[in-house]
Amino acid sequence: MVTPGISPQEPRRVTGADGMIDPVTGEQRVIAPGHTFRSVTEKLSRIVLTPHTPVGWFLGLGLAGSVAILLLVAVTWLFLKGTGIWGITIPVAWGFAIINFVWWIGIGHAGTLISAILLLFKQKWRNSINRFAEAMTLFAVVCAAMYPVIHTGRPWLAIYWLFPYPNTMNYWPQFRSPLMWDVFAVSTYATISVVFWYIGMIPDLGTMRDRAKSKFARFVYGNMALGWRGSTRHWMRYETASLLLAGLATPLVLSVHTVISFDFAVAIMPGWHTTIFPPYFVAGAIYSGFAMVLTLAIPIRKFYHLEDLITLRHLDNCGKVMLATGFIVAYGYSTDIAYAWYSADKWEFFMAWNRIFGPMGWSYWILIVSNILIPLTTLWSRKLRQNVVFLFILSLIVNTGMWFERFVIVVVSLTRDYLPGSWGTYKATRWDYMTFIGTLGLFTFLFFLFIRLLPMIPMSEIRQILPGAKINEAELQQRGGH
């Protein structure tokens, strides 16, 4: 039932031939019309339960897997030789490892925002994209969490440095160090994300168990479904658990990247020590995360013909979120420069000058062009926000820009600090590049496995937003409901 009572003489926007425009609001529909409970379940479960895996999937998985091998090689060599194989030097003691860590963990934030905050804000459109966005979060966290561990050089000893555990040596980590807080922030984030993702999947796993033909699949999905029967009591508990987990995950959207921004901001290094960092890091994380959602969603909806479930409305909304968070990022860049002058501090001012015009100024301009100039001018246009090819290209541009943002913050600030005598430069080695590209491969590899083995769009949640799920009040009253 659509919202009733709109006056019939209300002139309507011309609806598209495919009926994708909602006549009441004039917006793109969240789900294409014509879907029923059955058609949604059929369509989504078939992707997983089909015995005919598409050849393209094997090719993709193989390619991603081979790229991921680069990571294995690079990390093995690292463990054998130590961090000397990387481009890090003094003064640039933090290089690719920390850039990649921040970049990856930032990407994860969009998944949590979609699954938690948009749930609390009752944004029903999120239902189509929350599952794979949350999977994206998990895989991004896997890639991210690896860096701080391997950047210690001897990760088998890292447990002494990172985890506070009672030991006979009475040896504790430095609790006042934000690196220590990172351990808690990231591990909490990973835990809550896994639980939230899994709990959300239980009704769908029940569906998969019931629809699976092979005994093995029934056994696996059956175990994973934890005895889900779809009774009212089950649903009630499921809904309560989802809300509670959303409530727990919401502060994590802010806190994780905030703690990461503290890694920099609590130091007194010009370019790091600035109070705008926490909100600006969070906004940047969501910005890059939504870009990654688009990078993944656009090929997937094309390949699996999911255009009627991940519609232009979703892409449009992702574009809008990117526009909003992009502007917060732009606000951060502007205040960085404005306060570099207003602080009346010559080191702050030099830092800003060095960023823009110094020997590594090119990286600053890459980030300005790809984070600000291109996206924040084009995303205003509704036409471009609904142009699939454009959005895909833009999402890659923004992800590049966000990587360079971290490059500028981590590397460029370190190259030239207070004492000109200790200035240096930075050049990444092949091992740096291999590690980074390797995590891209690992991420894609895990994602390919996910879309093949689990329902990437939540069937149960899509069913809830179909017109058939809306309570018909007239009917309810007739039956003497409530």
Binding site: E10, T25, F277, D345
Partner: protein
């Protein structure tokens, strides 16, 4: 099970109830009392500066209600949703109080030298030599002269008001037109408002940052914090939202608001308040942690002025009013769904804004810096803002009364008329 209203209908008369006029009379009484007290206190304190300091605090508070209203108005246009329709007319009325805030700004602009040290000291070198200021202040005042100068302050002030005025004018004008418009559909209006409000929010955040640097941050010319503008923006939302909820709850005792305000949307507004409570403490704590850990002389002094010499308990109470109380109260679903209780939380939140503004402003002045003590002048921080807020309220109730309190011709209105379900 919630109470469910069947067959809800929209009353024919959507104008503001007559009770608004009574509220206005009460506000006039409050204004008069505080104004008299302020004058009597002036006789005791013999300090015109104290009046000005209180005036600055009153200006910042009235500004946060006006601009908080404008910002939330633009936010609800770009985000959409039923909650926006519910509070739209009160928000518009809040934004239309801009002229009176401009008038309140004039005394600050005129007596600028008595408030801002950078305006008072024309020759920092000499002042340093005479021991009026220290070296850090002398450097900052001289260095920041291209920005912190009297003419610039005036010109920027007028530009800020002009920019906000343009957005206020169009958003209010179009909203009234939409009420009776049958020639255009919802899509037309929605896009029209969105296209102004989206860029409007970008402009708003930049202008407000400038405003808070000029009016508040520059009270201590040595201090800077790049997050301060952002915190100020959140504070506007915090105050604006608490106030507009209070207005809607008060209006809902009468027709027509009683027909439109459902438990569901009231609950949503309560949750939004909660989000602002969290956002506010998040920013305040982050700024504090970063500056504390850096412990740099040009940054930490600002906090030292505000946590030592008796100001510590004030900061602690600020934390209590601003976060602890609203946080724990708003966690409760029952409180968010109960009109009286939610109204009380909103009052606490508004009180917290007053407390916080006092804590931000007062320690910037030499007599109170890191030294909280009773003087008759100190009482002006209660009397002058009290009278100003009273005056603002008189103006607000007049603007609120001038239009229907429920906007029409919006598809969300139909949704608000639907009966509500327990878990809607």
């Amino acid at each position: 099970m919630e109470e469910i209203h069947h067959s809800r209908t929209l009353p024919a008369d959507l104008s503001a109830p007559a009770a608004v006029l009574q509220w206005r009379t009460r506000a006039a009484g409050v204004t008069a009392v505080f104004a008299i007290l302020a004058v009597l206190d002036l006789l005791l304190s013999h300090s015109f500066d104290a009046i000005l300091h209180g005036w600055l605090m009153g200006l910042i508070l009235c500004l946060s209600l006006t601009l908080g209203g404008l910002a939330l108005l633009m936010v609800q246009w770009v985000s959409g949703g039923k909650w926006g329709l519910l509070i739209r007319r009160p928000l518009e009325a809040m934004s239309r109080t801009l002229p009176i805030v401009f008038l309140m700004f004039l005394p600050i602009a005129i007596f600028i030298k008595r408030i801002y040290i950078w305006a008072r000291i024309t020759h920092p070198e000499q002042a340093l030599h005479n021991g009026l200021i220290d070296a850090m202040q002398a450097h900052a005042i001289a260095y920041k002269r291209p920005y912190l100068n009297i003419e610039g302050f005036w010109i920027r002030g007028i530009i800020y008001f002009l920019i906000f005025g343009i957005f206020t004018y169009f958003l209010n004008k179009w909203s009234l037109q939409r009420d009776t418009d049958t020639a255009h559909n919802n899509w037309y209006w929605q896009k029209k408002f969105e296209n102004l409000s989206g860029p409007g929010l970008v402009v708003y955040s930049l202008v407000l940052t400038g405003m808070c640097v000029d009016w508040v941050m520059s009270l201590d010319p040595t201090w800077f914090s790049s997050m301060f503008g952002f915190m100020f923006i959140v504070a506007q939302g915090y105050a604006g939202l608490a106030f507009v909820i209070l207005v809607v709850l008060a209006l809902s005792q009468y027709s027509p608001m009683d027909a439109v305000l459902r438990k569901t949307e009231q609950h949503d507004l309560g949750k939004l308040c909660f989000a602002f409570v969290m956002l506010n403490i998040y920013m305040a704590f982050s700024q504090y942690l970063i500056i504390w850990s850096g412990n740099l002389p040009n940054e930490i002094r600002w906090y030292m002025d505000r946590i030592t010499g008796g100001w510590g308990p004030i900061a602690g109470l600020d934390f209590l009013f601003h976060w602890v109380l609203p946080f724990f109260l708003l966690l409760s679903r029952d409180i968010k769904r109960n009109k009286t209780k939610l109204a009380r939380v909103c009052v606490i939140m508004l009180f917290a804004r007053c407390w916080d503004t006092w804590w931000l402003i007062a320690p910037a002045f030499p007599s109170e810096r890191a030294n909280l003590h009773f003087t008759w002048g100190m009482l002006e921080y209660i009397f002058v803002p009290g009278a100003m807020i009273g005056l603002w309220l008189i103006y607000f109730f007049t603007t609120l009364r001038s239009r229907n309190v429920v906007a029409q011709n919006d598809p969300h209105l139909v949704e608000l008329m639907e009966s509500q379900h327990a878990h809607a």
